[in-house]
Structure formats: structure tokens, C-alpha cells
Amino acid sequence: MTVDRVASNAQSQYLLSQIMKANTALDTVTAQVASGKVSSDYTGIGDKTASLEAARAAAARADAYATNTQLAVTQTDLQDAQLTTLSSLAEQLKEAITTAAGNGDGTGLMTTAQDVFEQASSILNATDSNGNYIYGGGQGNTKPFTATSLSDLTSDTVSNFFQNGSQKKSVLVGDGQSVQIGVLASDVGTELMTALQNLANADSPSGSLDGSLTSTQTDNLTNNVLPSATQAYTDLNDATATNGETYSRLKDDVTNQQSLSTLYKGFVSDIEDVDMTKAATNLNQAQTALQAALEVTAKLGQLSLLNYLPTTTSG
């Protein structure tokens, strides 16, 4: 059996390199424990990099969908309030006509009609925080409803007063899932304005529907004006309900995207976050390894024949 020689310099170099290795290992684990991340560079993540980045992008996408859908929720919420008002205006108009026709007394009917017209047209021409017409259907800076008074309505066909575009706003609430949230002024206003137009036409000459009404007038109100007011009321109720459904669907979508985001963030965390129990154990081991390397070096440094030789031969 042969015993290898051990060269002094090589041995100390070797011990030094072992200390450095232990130091590097300790450094890596310390960084992991301190940052909570597996690695700060992509090399440290290795073959999971693509999955990590894909999951991170998916989480960001879900977050963006949730945020944008939330904006749409606010918009539909606002529309809900306005559509409800429109619907109650239609109801008011219907009630007023029914009362006037039933009692044969038109007192206050046209005032109510004027009032309904003004409120309704102001809603149809409502603008958002950017000054764009909410019910403009893509044509955000064109007034969607142009009649300015009840008497205007009698001058033209109702549809000509609606200048809104036809593009209903929609939002992406998920990959490839688009939800239409936009409502067009012409969709919700035509029936109501037709009813008002019919009423204004019935009030001919102007002011003739005031006070007690003739049977011709009440018949006209019951047979021609009331049905269109009722229709307006029904349609607006439907529109409000549809908008309400959109609202709750959007709410659900926000929740869905939020849970998707949580799920993806879990994937991200699984890859890039360090398992603390494991890291703490590794830290312990790395510390022990470094200590062992240092102790061995210290011990071996003391071992030398030099210590056993007399300093002088005569002594």
C-alpha cells in the first residue's frame, strides 16, 4: 500500500477552498432566508423559468381583467341608477295619462309631461367624467338626443332626434370573453320619447289638454297615448333588468379573475419563494459545515513537525 504525499501548500490551498465553498453555500442560504426567494437571478430558477414567467403574466392578466371589470361595474352601476330613473319617469307619465283619462281632467298633465321630457333628455345626454356622452354609442362628443323641448318632438320623427352611434361599449372580462355594457340613447329613449311625442301631438292646439277633457280627448289618450307610455315603461324596465344582469355578471367576473389571480400567484410563489423550514434547516447545515471547515483548518495548522524539533541542535 502506498501513502500519498501531502504537499503543504496544496493542503492549505485545499482547506482554503473548502472554507470558501462553505462560505458561498452559507451566503446563498442566508440570501434565501433573508429575501424569502429561491434566487435573485434567472439562472437560479433554472428550468422553471418559463412556467414562472408565464404564471406571473397570467396573474398580471387576471389582475388587469379584475381592475378593468371593476371600472365597468362602476359604469353599469351609474347606468343602473339612471335607467331606474328613466323607468320611474315612464311610470310617472303612464300614471298621469291614466289619471287624466280616467278622471277626464287633464290638469297638470302637460306640466308632468314637460317635466318628464326634461329629466329624460338630461339623462339621455348625461356625460361621464371625461365629458363623453354615456349613451353616445361610440360618438362620445356628439349629443345623442337633440330635441330641446317637448314641442320640438312634434316637428320630426322621433328617430331623427337620436344622433348616437351604434357601437355599444364592451369590456374584456377574461380571455376572449367580452361583455357589452354600453347602452344606446336610442335604445332606451325612443319609446319614451314616442309616448311624449304622441302626448304632445294630442295636445293640439297647445294647452287643449288642460282642465276637463272631452271624450274624444280621453279616448285618444287611452287608445293612442297610453299604450306607448306603457310600452316605454315595460321596455325601460327590461333595459334596467338587462343592465342589472350585466352588473351582477361583471361582479362575478371580478371575483373569478381575483381568484384566478390568487391561484396564479400561488404558482409563482411555489416556484420563486423559498420553503422557509427547508431554508432554515439548510442555513443551520451550512453554518455547521463552515464551522467544521474552519476547525479542521485550525487543527491541521497546528500539526507540524516543526513543533517537535528542538530550535537549536546544541540545545
Binding site: 504525499r5 501531502v6 504537499a7 503543504s8 501548500n9 496544496a10 490551498q13 485545499y14 477552498s17 426567494k37 434566487s39 437571478d41 434567472y42 439562472t43 437560479g44 430558477i45 433554472g46 428550468d47 423559468t49 414562472l52 414567467e53 408565464a54 406571473r56 403574466a57 398580471a60 392578466r61 388587469a64 381583467y65 381592475t67 378593468n68 371600472l71 365597468a72 359604469q75 367624467s129 371625461n130 363623453n132 356622452y133 353616445g136 354609442g137 361610440g138 360618438q139 362620445g140 362628443n141 356628439t142 352611434g165 351604434s166 357601437q167 361599449k169 364592451s170 369590456v171 374584456l172 380571455d175 376572449g176 409563482v268 420563486e272 507540524s304 513537525l305 516543526l306 524539533l309 541542535t313
Partner: protein, 708 residues
């Protein structure tokens, strides 16, 4: 036997042991000297006429093991190779930022779509447009700055390599000179010369730069050659030469030539060294420069191309509100005399500042006619210039259309705006790109070289290149082997097909150029050169006054894709006025404005690019794939990580191998203090014993002289 005989033997013991102690002393003194091999003293009996007459030093031997030395040299070359690669990777990692810090391309891309989503409900609000523009700019800046950093790193690596080549030359010359001196001393009988230690050190240093093999000669000299046998030091020595800095990302090989030591003149022809290297720092740097860094730049370029093509295609199909008054196209490299080669139909409309239609020009490229506001069809000449003239006439007082230096510009009069939209059923197309897209009239992203490589040119079209322009090509593999180096000089009147044939002829079958029907050129190496890459080392051709060279126009050459990323930016017109972001889509059927101020249908189409699939050609380590932009970017990071992991594990293995080789080598050649100390005791005791013998002889003489 005489007393004098005893005295002389004892004296030889004193002298010999003093010499031995001197060796021990040198060994101890050099315990930490790099490259020092311990010496051992071999003793022999001294004889005079066949009679023992004391002791002598037969020789002082330098303890080395040639095999272990060679193993150590090769391990050192391999370790230096990965060491160089690993330090470049440290810099790449620093460029990419840390994981999850939000600077990654994938995150920047997510930010773009997130900003688009937030703009969906109020597409014309300036806050929406500014934040979308910021997101686009950040993405573009990330791409271009990463590309430029990679390119700088590539140049830096190249400079480091040039320095390493210089050091290698010095070491080779040094080894040759030491060889000469050692030979002289060996003849004089001095086999343990300290020059051998210096030579070993020089060899060790050389092996860190390039892998070498050595052979010990009887005369004491050492011949040095590359791993595959190219001589570096022998009767003559070799010198390497390298000029740092490449053109177009293409770098020349290192050349090697023998030098006559007598007069310093070079002998024979220079040969490329690159293919003969398999280790050492130089090889590591070449691999990073021509491999990893070049690949990453090209992968980034391919991503940039995907982003530019997909976003530009959609952005050109959209319209901004209010419609922009001028549309300035990209440099298409086309000449006014080029055939139009468009098919399908498109509509070019002038609107007022509120998007209401002023004039509508319907262009039918199939019949070569255009009609204004539904009027009668007027035909135009089937050239680019002919069409532009026709368009200009059709615009009349409403605007102008001009074509110069490859760029189409359309301007509306006054505050009027312009809308261009391809027909939904038979869209205008040249090489697969729509009318506005091909001319880049409404591009979102701009690149310094064309991102659309389907030029729509056909073989019979004039090449438009002035005679005398020259294209220099190089077919090279990753190890630096050259398959073919060739040039093509343009002669007068060449068609595109002629140039392609000339390229094929010049490459002599090593690489095939094919002009496809969409006007793109595919290049493919022949089967025997499957892993070779075509590089364009120079191109002085130019299409007319467009400034566009033939290879730029068709994106020929392994480094062209990488160029797309370096100048990647958001169109300067959009940066100057964010309202040019086209988030609406023209609706010619609308009774009111044809472009709505609050229309976000174009924006929704841009949003869908997040998940839509794009086709990416094979580039670097990323194969041909059909995938989303985000997935491709993630793949790019995966490639960096995989390469980084491979290098770091190779480095660990090579370092361990080096440590092991050096430990084994030093267990033979290294100085052991304990061993030297025990030798010291042995020689010291022998010296003392010899001295005692002299004392005894002295006493014997005294005794003898006292006999009276």
C-alpha cells in the same frame, strides 16, 4: 588505509550533506511558490580506483510527473473556459434584473395590456392615452436597451478576447525562449534548472487561455501544440493575430502563423485558430460572443419582430380619433418604378376633425382603378409611383400623396384627418401585409431595419441596385469553421431574380437562397453544412436613394434578426402626440362620424393580441413556434436560465476536476514541510556524524604524534 583517507571520506560527507541541506532549504523556501516542483537529492558513492572514497551528489532531480502535468493543464483550460463563460453570465443576469422585479419583458408586456384594458372605457381621455403610451414606451425601451446592452457585452467580450490573444502570444514566445535556455543548460549537465519551473508556470498560464498539449523532449525542451496538434512551440513558434471589433455582429476568426525565430519573419500561410480550440478563456469568450450573446440578441430580435408585426398590423387597421392629418410611412425600400404588386381593395378617406366623412377614395388594386365618392373608376399605372400619382389626383384639394426615398406620405388639407381601411372581404395585400401596414402609414412601433420581410417583390422586378454594390457573405459554424466566404458584385440592370441567382452561384451550393411568392427570401444551408450560419460581413448595395441595402430589405444574415431589437421604439409621431394612438375603427356605414370619439373597438382588437398566436421562426435556441407574445418572452428567459444553469454546473464540475488534478500533481511535485524537516534531520545528523569523524581523525593524529 590512511588517516587521510578517513578524513577525505568524512569531508565528502560534510560537503554532500551541505549540498543536500541546501536543496532542503530551497524546497522549504519555495513551499508556497506557484509552479515550483520539489527537488530531491540522489547520492552515490565516491570511488577512487575502485576503492570507496566517501559520498557524492549524483544529481538533484526535479520531481515532476508529465502525465499529471498534462492532466492539470487540460483541467485548467477547461476550468478557465467555463470561468470566462460564467463571468459573462453574471453580467447577463445583472442586465436582466432580478426575478420578479417587474422589469422583465413578460411583465412589461402585461403592463401594456393592463394599460389598454384600463383605457377601454374612455379611449380618448388623455390620461388613458398617456398611460397606454407609457406602457408601450417602457416595453420598447426594455427591448432596445436590453438589446444594446447585450451588444455592448458582446463587444466587451470581444475586447477581452483580443487582450487574451495578446497574452497568449507573450506566453508562447516566453516558452520558446525558455526552451532555448533550458536546452543549453541541459547540455551543460544542469537538469534541475529553475528555468523549468518558469516554463511550467508559463505553460500553466497559457493553458488558462487556450487548451494545449505538451511533449517533453530529450534535450530538455518541451514542444507545445493545441489539443488537436497545431504546433505552437517547437523548432519555431507560432503567433496569433486578431483584430477586435466586428461588423454587423460578425467577427473574424483568430489566425495563427509560424514565426522564424532567427529573423522574426512569418512562415507559411496563416490559418484560422478558432476551430482548433476546445478550452481555455479564449474559447469560453468566443462561445459567449458567437453563441449565447448572439443567440440572445436574435431571440430578442425575433420577439421585437413579433411585437412590431402584430401590433402594427392591428394599429394600421385601426383609426385614431380625431383622425391624424398626416400619415407618414416607413422606409419600405421600394422605388417609384417598382411594380405595385398589391391585390384586393382598400379605402382612403378624408374626414373633418370630428371624424365626419369629407371624401372617400375606394381603391381596387385588382382592376388597378380608384373611384372618388362612388364616382366612376379611374385607372392608374401599376407601379408604386403610378398609384401614388393617381391617389394624389384623387385627393384633389383635400390632400396630397407623395412617395420619396421608399416612404409614402399622405397629408390632408387643413385640419382634416385621414382614415385608411382595407376592405373586410377582399383586403389589400402585398406579400401578406395590408395596404396601410405594408407602407407603415400608421405604425405603433418602428424599427431601424424592416420588420416586414415579405417585400412583395417578384423575380422579374428590377433589383433597383446601382452597379458596383457588393455583398460579402460568410458561412460559419459555431466553432468558427468556415464553409465558404464569397462576395457578389451587382452589375447594371440586375433583376431581383438575377441577384438571388448570383448569390446562389457565389455560395457554390453551400447555401441556397429562394425567393418566395410573398417576396421574402429563405436561406438554407446544404445538408453537409446544416449547423452553419450565414453571416453578412458587408453590404454596400442600396435600393435607389432609400438607404436600404439588399440584405437589410430581405433580412438576410444570421444577425439581421437581432438588429430589429436594437432600434426598437414607439413611432415618433405617436410619442409626439399620444392622441394618434388608434383605438377606434372606422365605420363607413355610419350615418354620422365614420370614426367615433368614444369608440374602443380598435382597442379591444389590440387587447386580444395578448392571447392571439403569432408565428416565430427558428432563432437561436428557440425553435419555430406558434405561440403568444408573452409565452415567447417567457421562453427567452427560460433559454437564459437553461444556458446559465448549464454553464454554472459545468463550471462546478471543471473546478472540481482542476482541484483534483492540482492536488494529485502537487502530491507528487509539491513541497511537504514535514518531509523536508525530516530530511533536514537526516542530513543534519549525517553532517554531525561526518564532523565527528573529523574530530576522531584529529584525535587519532594527536595520539599518533604523542608517540615518542
Amino acid at each position: 588505509m590512511s588517516l587521510n583517507g578517513i578524513m577525505s571520506s568524512a569531508l565528502s560527507a560534510l560537503q554532500t550533506n551541505t549540498a543536500a541541506l541546501r536543496v532542503v532549504s530551497n524546497n522549504v523556501a519555495n513551499v508556497n511558490t506557484t509552479g515550483y516542483a520539489r527537488r530531491v537529492v540522489n547520492l552515490e558513492t565516491l570511488s577512487a580506483g575502485g576503492q570507496l572514497a566517501g559520498v557524492d551528489v549524483s544529481d538533484i532531480q526535479r520531481v515532476v510527473d508529465q502525465y499529471l502535468n498534462q492532466v492539470s493543464l487540460s483541467a485548467s483550460a477547461s476550468s478557465a473556459n467555463y470561468d470566462a463563460q460564467s463571468s459573462v453570465f453574471d453580467q447577463i443576469n445583472a442586465l436582466l434584473g432580478s426575478v420578479g422585479d417587474g422589469t422583465a419583458l413578460t411583465s412589461q408586456l402585461s403592463n401594456v395590456f393592463s394599460a389598454l384594458g384600463q383605457a377601454a372605457l374612455s379611449p380618448t381621455a388623455s390620461s388613458s392615452q398617456t398611460s397606454a403610451l407609457n406602457a408601450f414606451q417602457n416595453l420598447a425601451a426594455s427591448i432596445s436597451s436590453l438589446s444594446n446592452s447585450l451588444s455592448n457585452l458582446q463587444k466587451q467580450t470581444d475586447t477581452q478576447m483580443a487582450t487574451a490573444v495578446g497574452s497568449a502570444n507573450t506566453l508562447i514566445k516566453q516558452i520558446y525562449d525558455l526552451n532555448a535556455q533550458i536546452k543549453t543548460q541541459t547540455v551543460a549537465g544542469d537538469a534541475d534548472t529553475a528555468l523549468a519551473d518558469q516554463r511550467d508556470l508559463a505553460l500553466q498560464n497559457l493553458s488558462q487561455l487556450m487548451d494545449v498539449r505538451t511533449a517533453q523532449q530529450a534535450d530538455g525542451s518541451t514542444t507545445v501544440m493545441t489539443e488537436d496538434g497545431i504546433s505552437l512551440v517547437g523548432d519555431t513558434y507560432a503567433q496569433l493575430s486578431y483584430t477586435a471589433g466586428g461588423a454587423n455582429g460578425t467577427f473574424q476568426p483568430i489566425t495563427l502563423q509560424s514565426v522564424n525565430p532567427q529573423n522574426g519573419q512569418t512562415i507559411g500561410t496563416a490559418q484560422a485558430l478558432d476551430p482548433h480550440l476546445s478550452g481555455g478563456k479564449i474559447k469560453g469568450l468566443i462561445d459567449m460572443r458567437d453563441g449565447t450573446l448572439a443567440d440572445l440578441q436574435n431571440e430578442l430580435g425575433s420577439f421585437a419582430q413579433g411585437v412590431a408585426q402584430s401590433f402594427n398590423a392591428q394599429h394600421n387597421a385601426n383609426s385614431a380619433y380625431p383622425p391624424p392629418t398626416t400619415l407618414d410611412g416607413r422606409d419600405t425600400g421600394l422605388l417609384a418604378s417598382d411594380a405595385l404588386n398589391f391585390s384586393g381593395k382598400t379605402t382612403i378617406a378624408v374626414t373633418d376633425s370630428s371624424g365626419n366623412l369629407v371624401s372617400k377614395i375606394a381603391v381596387d388594386f385588382g382592376t388597378g382603378t380608384l373611384s372618388v365618392n362612388g364616382g366612376s373608376a379611374t385607372s392608374f399605372a401599376a407601379t408604386v409611383g403610378g398609384f401614388v400619382n393617381g391617389l394624389n389626383t384623387a385627393l384633389g384639394s383635400n390632400g396630397t400623396a407623395t412617395f420619396a426615398d421608399g416612404q409614402l406620405s399622405i397629408a390632408a388639407t387643413g385640419s382634416n384627418g385621414l382614415v385608411v381601411q382595407d376592405d373586410a372581404t377582399t383586403p389589400a395585400s402585398r406579400g401578406g401585409a395590408g395596404f396601410s401596414q405594408f407602407f407603415g402609414l400608421n405604425d405603433l412601433f418602428q424599427t431601424t431595419t424592416p420588420s416586414i420581410l415579405s417585400t412583395g417583390l417578384s423575380a422579374s422586378d428590377s433589383s433597383g441596385l446601382a452597379a458596383g454594390g457588393k455583398i460579402d457573405l460568410l458561412l460559419k459554424d459555431a466553432s468558427g469553421n468556415l464553409a465558404k466566404q464569397a462576395s457578389v458584385t451587382i452589375t447594371a440592370g440586375m433583376t431581383v431574380g438575377d441577384v438571388v441567382s448570383a448569390l446562389n452561384t457565389a455560395m457554390g451550393g453551400t447555401e441556397t437562397f429562394t425567393l418566395n411568392s410573398d417576396g421574402s427570401i429563405t436561406t438554407s444551408p446544404s445538408s453537409s453544412y446544416a449547423n452553419y450560419q450565414l453571416q453578412v460581413t458587408g453590404d454596400t448595395t442600396q435600393r435607389g436613394a432609400t438607404g436600404m441595402s439588399f440584405t437589410e430589405l430581405f433580412g438576410i444574415g444570421a444577425n439581421q434578426t437581432g438588429q430589429l431589437a436594437s432600434g426598437f421604439s414607439v413611432s415618433s409621431a405617436i410619442v409626439a402626440s399620444p392622441s394618434r394612438l388608434a383605438f377606434a375603427q372606422a365605420d363607413f356605414s355610419s350615418s354620422g362620424a365614420i370614426v367615433g370619439s368614444d369608440d374602443s373597438s380598435g382597442l379591444t382588437a389590440l387587447q386580444s393580441l395578448e392571447t392571439s398566436q403569432q408565428t416565430f421562426a427558428k432563432v437561436g435556441a428557440l425553435g419555430r413556434q406558434v405561440t403568444s407574445l408573452g409565452t415567447y418572452a417567457a421562453g427567452l428567459y427560460q433559454d437564459v436560465a437553461t444556458r446559465g444553469t448549464t454553464v454554472s454546473s459545468n463550471k462546478t464540475a471543471a473546478d472540481d476536476r482542476l482541484t483534483e488534478a492540482q492536488t494529485r500533481q502537487s502530491s507528487v511535485s509539491g513541497v511537504s514541510i514535514d518531509e523536508e524537516l525530516s530530511n533536514m534531520i537526516i542530513y543534519q545528523q549525517a553532517y554531525s556524524a561526518g564532523a565527528r569523524m573529523l574530530n576522531v581523525v584529529d584525535q587519532l593524529y594527536t595520539t599518533l604524534l604523542q608517540i615518542q
